[in-house]
């Protein structure tokens, strides 16, 4: 099981908003697949899946903010 967290994004960026989930719960994702699109006020980027597995749970809804290091999803 792996927890997908919002990675360090460098100086001055402490949080980002979930803008779009690319996969539904229950679907298989492969290591490196773009799992979720995040947005800050100046940038849009994707967080990839760290492992191959089934997306068990999305922990944050679209439109909600997450801090760096916080969990976004669980993959098993």
């Amino acid at each position: 099981m792996a927890s997908v967290v919002l990675p360090e994004l460098g100086e001055g960026i402490e949080k980002a908003t979930v803008s779009y989930w690319h996969f539904e719960v229950g679907k298989e994702v492969k290591e490196g697949d773009e799992l979720v699109e995040m947005a800050t006020d100046k940038a849009v980027f994707n967080v990839p899946s760290p492992i191959t597995g089934i997306l068990q749970e999305k922990l944050v809804e679209e439109g909600k903010e997450v801090k760096v290091g916080e969990a976004l999803a669980v993959i098993e």
Partner: protein, 220 residues
Amino acid sequence: MYLSVIDLGRVSFKEAFWRQIQLHREILEDDACRSHTIILCEHPHTITTGKKVNAENLLDYKFIKDNNVDFVVGINRGGDITYHGPGQLMGYLIFDLRKLNRNLGGFLNKIEDVIIKTITAFNISTYTKSGFRGIWVNEQKIASIGIGVDRWVSLHGFGLNVSTDLSFFDIIKPCGMDIKMTSMKEQLARQVDINLVKEELVRQVCDIFKLESSREHAFV
């Protein structure tokens, strides 16, 4: 590392975007790539939006339709709705952030520095505003920034109003905010040669990102 400079002149948003996608793919597929790229261009009258389209920020759809303004929605960049057109210098940055310590925040700060120092070289005092995007002059916005990052390689960039016809911003709510836009021409009350702005911009990118300009690709 080198800075490859591609000057496309006046091209459609779609053509510049296609060029970005090609370069993005080349950088991703070539681990040994030793250069970042900036595409410089101007667009014909164009309205673009980020992924989230807020219809109420488009104030005059009839004007867009009647004046044959290009309308491109759902771009994978930060930011809301904006206008691009002749006299606005677009800088599209295809940078490999894996070679910049994956420091997205630092990358964005440096882009702001590049724009500020470029405009300052023309004797206009600019600043960033806490909580607001872009670069400002006398409480008016002169440049907008919107970046996309895919697998740690950036896309999109900024638009700097050099001699933009500012009346076109009246058809939208720029960046979804009640703000007034300005240009270098308006601030200086004289015409500004966009080619001089391009030269200064490239100098500042090289200086701030510690890159060497790749002459063989410059202004092709």
